[in-house]
């Protein structure tokens, strides 16, 4: 009897490069290392006025809205769908919050109303996709086109453009902190854990991936694919609702035209960088959060590096392209072949 051979180094390397977490983690590490060189003291975390303070905390803090939206997006993309309306949902939620505060509702009720509005938007999207069978990109485009208009209309109902407000409860959730930790990180962790339990500790995750992989086959196997799709859009609406609460309370104002502009694109990008395929059938919640962190780290780094802010988008595009090319087998092989030919 011979002992099984230990896996060779190159074999291990191949295993490592094919693991889905490798490339996004590598990208994040590279960006962070560059930051460490460019900005001295990047990694220091201090305690100022009883809360954690530092660039790393700042990145986590600012990544929360995108990461929240991206979680819901990951589930929707898992069903082979897409939700373009999340930015508009945030606008409607923001307008609703400002409106109800003006009307003097108890703030706890307002929080529930805001999340309810998110769910309602999810209900609408789900109705279009699951019941009327409209392609997801078009179904959610409808709310995306009209949602910001609805937000403006709500603002106009009580005669204001961009009304501002104060609310200790909502602002506590958004910009406050419990002990040393910013509250929104705790909110995010709670949503993440709840969603993870829902997806991975019930059969829902399996059903979503089955529907995303092949809806007809899932139907034949007894999965009620319409119901599963419906629940995915509800989850996405609720996640966008939370993001809306945090973003609106952060700015103290409802600004339907410009709040969370392009957040749907960032969220989809986060899912894709995290290894999710728009072709559906897979949900990686943890990897999606990693994707959102890559995007936010990149944005923060560009701002900190002293480059003019107008370079932000261009650098983001180049890095995103680079990460995508790293993930593509074809591109990697082409580069490797080129390197080998040089050596000879």
């Amino acid at each position: 009897m011979t002992a099984p051979l230990p896996p060779s180094f190159s074999g291990r390397l191949r295993e490592l490069t094919s693991h889905r977490a490798t490339w996004p983690l590598l990208a994040l590490a590279v960006i962070l290392v560059v930051d460490g060189f460019v900005a001295p003291g990047f990694f220091t975390i201090r305690i100022v006025e009883g809360r954690l303070f530092g660039s790393l905390i700042d990145i986590l803090y600012r990544a929360v809205p995108t990461a929240l939206v991206a979680l819901g997006m990951a589930v929707v993309i898992g069903t082979k769908g897409i939700d373009l309306s999340v930015g508009s949902i945030i606008a409607v939620v923001g307008a609703t919050i400002a409106w109800r505060i003006q009307e003097g509702d108890p703030h706890f009720v307002i929080l529930l109303t805001a999340l309810g509005v998110g769910l309602l938007c999810g209900l609408w999207n789900g109705f279009l996709v699951a019941v009327l069978d409209i392609q997801p990109i078009i179904a959610t485009l409808i709310l995306m086109v009209s949602g910001r208009g609805i937000g403006l209309m709500i603002n106009l109902i009580y005669g204001g453009t961009n009304p501002s407000f104060t609310s200790p409860l909502l602002q506590g959730l958004s910009v406050g902190s419990i002990g040393l930790v910013p509250t929104r990180l705790i909110v995010f962790a709670a949503v993440f854990v709840a969603l993870w339990l829902l997806i991975r500790r019930t059969a829902l995750g399996l059903f979503v991936e089955a529907v995303g992989g092949n809806a007809a086959a899932a139907d034949l196997a007894g999965v009620r694919s319409r119901l599963i799709k419906y629940s995915a859009y509800l989850i996405s609406g609720l996640c966008a609702g939370w993001a809306g609460v945090i973003l609106t309370a952060d700015t103290h104002t409802s600004d339907p035209v410009s709040v969370a502009l392009y957040i749907e694109l960032d969220a989809i990008l986060a899912v894709v960088i995290g290894g999710g395929s728009l072709a559906g059938g897979r949900i990686y919640l943890g990897m999606t959060v990693l994707g959102a962190l890559v995007i936010q780290t990149l944005t923060t780094s560009i701002l900190m590096s002293g480059l003019p802010p107008e370079y932000n988008l261009l650098v983001k595009a180049v890095v995103v392209l680079f990460v995508l090319l790293l993930q593509s087998n074809n591109a990697r092989n082409a580069v490797l072949a080129l390197v080998r030919r040089r050596k000879r």
Binding site: I138, S146, G149, V315, K316, A317, L321, L324, L325, N329
Partner: protein
């Protein structure tokens, strides 16, 4: 065979119904003057949407349109301050659009990455490039711009066909010829209809994909040129969100987002329907921009539902 034309006819019917509604509600609405203005105001978006029609017919998507329109505008304006003739800079920028689109198509096919993501990177890249060229609005002062604006063909009634609308109709004719009378056009339909079968039948995938996105880039760059000439300025935020208008125009025109079904001519009417909604709301006078957004969304919804139930076009592929 007639089934093919049903979505197009539905679109034309909706357009006519809206136009007649406007004519009944408002005085002076039902005229060639209004029609000419709708054509001229929406020429740039329809031109861009024509290119998108090919992309969507092949089952892909192009999100870089709006940024391309903005980028072309600011570069034209910048070159104008350096003394370039607008036609010269337009030629350079059209070539750029063609190459940029081709590069996107090549990456999509070679790396096998979803078009949504690659063209999203294109959106960020071109918008970022806009901000690097200028942060302010730059006027284009060359006399050619005035000459372009003054050129028009009178229509029966008191209307006229502006030069931007003429360019749009010419390139529309070109696009219809490409879609229905060339091998490339057939290949586009084949890829969109059933990708695997197209590969097996020997459709050159890489060449066709590159050409599709190159065509998309060319048309959106042309849309940008027309927009810059029409507004006689370049503004780095111009065209923001126009990719969605273009996609909406294509969908309203009866083209299926899953690819393979649809017609280029429908896009013209899809774009005009969007223009009509805005015009109707402007005619109403007391409504504001929020209503344009809501009405566009509601109409998009109604149209999709009506199209789905009347024509059953979403099952067109299964039945044919």
């Amino acid at each position: 065979m007639t089934e093919r034309y049903l979505p197009l006819m539905a679109t034309v019917t909706v357009f006519l119904a809206l136009f007649v509604t406007g004519g009944v509600l408002y005085e002076h609405f039902f005229s060639t003057l209004v029609l000419g203005h709708i054509l001229a105001d929406n020429a740039f978006i329809i031109i861009a949407a024509i290119g998108t029609t090919f992309v969507i017919l092949s089952g892909g998507i192009d999100l870089s349109i709006g940024s391309m329109i903005g980028f072309v505008g600011v570069v034209m304006a910048r070159l104008d301050t350096l003394g370039w003739h607008p036609l010269a800079s337009a030629a350079v920028l059209l070539a750029f659009g063609l190459l940029f689109g081709a590069a996107q198509g090549y990456i999509i096919d070679f790396c096998d990455i979803q078009p949504f993501i690659i063209t999203l990177a294109g959106l960020f890249m071109l918008r970022g490039a806009c901000f690097m060229v200028t942060l302010d609005s730059i006027p284009i002062r060359h006399p050619f711009v005035d000459a372009f604006a003054d050129t028009s063909i009178p229509l029966p009634g008191d209307g006229f066909l502006a030069s931007s609308a003429i360019v749009m109709l010419v390139v529309l004719a070109g696009a219809i010829a490409i879609a229905h009378f060339t091998r490339f056009g057939t290949n586009v339909y084949a890829i969109g209809g059933d990708r695997a079968s197209a590969v097996l039948m020997g459709v050159p995938m890489r060449r066709t994909t590159v050409m599709i996105y190159a065509l998309g880039g060319f048309y959106s760059a042309l849309g940008g040129v027309i927009y810059a000439l029409y507004t006689s300025s370049g503004y780095p935020l111009a065209g923001t969100g126009n990719e969605l208008n273009a996609i909406a125009a294509v969908v309203l025109g009866g083209t299926l987002l899953t690819g393979g079904v649809g017609m280029v001519a429908g896009t013209l009417f899809g774009g005009m329907i969007l223009g009509l909604i805005a015009t109707l709301i402007i005619f109403h006078g007391s409504l504001n921009g929020a209503w344009i957004m809501i009405a566009s969304g509601v109409l998009l919804f109604l149209f999709i539902v009506v199209q789905r139930s009347l024509v059953g076009s979403f099952n067109l592929r299964r039945s044919s």
